[in-house]
Symmetry: C2
Subunit: 349 residues, 2 copies
């Protein structure tokens, strides 16, 4: 079968590899119906060097179960399934607590140590299939709902995690930093959770227009001190927002989050931090009793909760896909996302 | 009157200054019955230079109201009062939300910009007396309850803030880092909130013995990797504690907090950070969905809640005072706390 591999920065290739097979009794093999390219895929697309071994790519996919191991009980051959961006056993204390991204037996896609490959491929061996996969009955492969279902594998659940861990509720003022797919779906999530005022910080008008469609009440395009001042101006009393959702992962976004935060407020980060150290002392977080939370979203925990509104068409998170490429065209998909000419790229087989 | 002044590091002097008077109609003048020296007073005691202007000291005191301004309504001359370590109007949105340390009109003691002096003195002008002071009826100046009431001005409320913001509740495993007065009272607070297992990290046996009396179930004296390993060993499944209370403020304590934290857990910091940057990236906080919270405790908000158990003698937080000096002896009190021969020093007039 074909699968996408990343070599050094900017170098993505489609290559032939053996078809996946059941290796353990808890495995399933899933034929990929749709996958996609993630904003976080751009981090290695920028940072990898010639010294890095090639790696498979892709951690978001929906597909059809082609084969299951002897111990798999909750999905069957032929099921349409959503694969979250982390695989998990579904039975450990963290999975039971809804924190599948900390599963004691789980892991992430594209991890050569576990022989686990990626979703930008024709098929994938899924470890711990019972805990990992979520079957959705009655979905045809060409259903118009497929793009929205695909967002439940990462970006929608990640935006939801930001809003949930920040404690967004009725009447809140919320700031969302970042107009990528996660930021836009954090806007949608904040609206679903009842926020009154949702200020989206982003400077790509096509994206922020979609953000308004998802529920943003204000858009601030400026960054840095000017952007912070404009956001604060919009908040009650000019004192900042009590809930800030950071969906970028770079240090300037972190600083913006701190800058617009109201005393006693919460910053939830879901953009994978591209830094290890950050300001957290008296002048940034401590002095105003700020709370910093978030992390890799346990999207598996949220599928059940988010699915009904997707199936009913009440929400359409799949609108974040504005470009479609075939698997063979995936290298072009990376280029277009990197150049910001595409917001999020859907991949067909 | 006499008041303590700090010059450069290690140089504390008692000097004569004019008696405080009412300057604004919202002021009160309080004669100090007991004040004390705080672990956080040791930070300037180490770091100040010859270039710093002298400053008054002390931010914890109880006393008797000697005079009030024309607009003061909630305290009267002769009242025994507790003065929290922050002064606040009691009416702004942050005060009403119980975050008096972010009061829009408030501030901290020993702030020359506001003409506000400190509690290590014979008397203090208290701004915004209605919002700041808490009157306790029926307390004689020589009541044995006075030391415990004095802890409500800072260290007890600060330990309580750590436990509260970490969300400590029934059955929890809690790690407390630091065996100073705040750490020990964080232990007491965690016990009051129902924690089952309270692991105290500290290496001064007299102090950790008091920690056991306050409710610590385990004591770990080692620090660094060894201390982290020992704490984890004690926690369920060896996976760390979900609630970690950091009552020191130095970077090694922060690293210990990260090291013993269970995935999905919360670190609450109440030790004033002596750093601005700290690890918060994938390897420290983000990857395990850790929450970082805490800050300057709004102790004013907690007095009403904590007072009954103090008045009934159910708890005795005043046990943290193991040395008493007169105001004239305050320089010696600093030395003894700095040399760790005293845990916390009570100051009589």
């Amino acid at each position: 079968m074909r699968a996408a591999f990343m070599y050094s920065a900017g170098d993505v290739r489609i290559e032939q590899i053996p078809d996946p097979v059941i290796e353990r009794p808890t495995d399933a093999v899933v034929r990929v119906v749709r996958s996609c390219i993630c904003g976080s895929d751009l981090h290695p697309y920028h940072s990898r060097t010639e010294n890095d071994a090639r790696t498979t790519m892709g951690h978001e996919f929906v597909g059809v179960v082609e084969d299951i191991g002897a111990e798999v009980a909750t999905v069957r051959t032929g099921d349409f399934v959503i694969a979250p961006f982390a695989w998990s056993d579904g039975t450990c204390e963290f999975c039971l607590a809804g924190l599948q991204t900390s599963c004691v037996h789980g892991g992430f896609w594209n991890d050569a140590r576990h022989g686990v490959l990626g979703g930008q491929a024709e098929a994938v061996r899924v470890p711990l299939a019972d805990g990992t996969l979520f079957a959705v009955p009655g979905i045809a492969e060409d259903s118009p709902l497929v793009p929205s279902l695909l967002t439940l594998s990462d970006v929608y659940g990640t935006g939801w995690h930001a809003a949930r861990t920040a404690g967004v509720g009725a009447g809140d003022t919320v700031v969302v930093i970042g107009d990528g797919a996660v930021g836009l779906l954090a806007v949608l999530s904040a609206r679903q959770l009842g926020a009154d005022q949702i200020i989206l910080m982003g400077r790509h008008e096509v994206r922020t227009d979609l953000g308004r469609r998802f529920g943003a009440t204000d858009v601030v395009a400026d960054r840095g001190a000017e952007g912070i001042a404009q956001v604060r101006e919009l908040t009650p009393g000019g004192l900042g927002a009590a809930k800030v959702l950071e969906a970028v992962g770079h240090m300037p976004a972190y600083r913006q989050a701190v800058g617009v935060l109201r005393p006693g407020g919460t910053i939830s980060r879901v953009g994978v931090p591209q830094y290890e150290e950050a300001p957290v002392g008296f002048r940034s977080l401590f002095g105003k009793n700020a709370t910093l939370t978030g992390g890799p979203a346990p999207v598996r925990a949220y599928i059940e909760e988010l699915l009904p509104a997707v199936l009913s068409g009440e929400v359409d998170p799949g609108l974040v896909f504005d470009r479609t490429v075939t698997l063979d065209e995936v290298p072009r998909g990376y280029r277009e996302m990197d150049e910001r000419t595409a917001l999020k790229v859907l991949v067909t087989p």
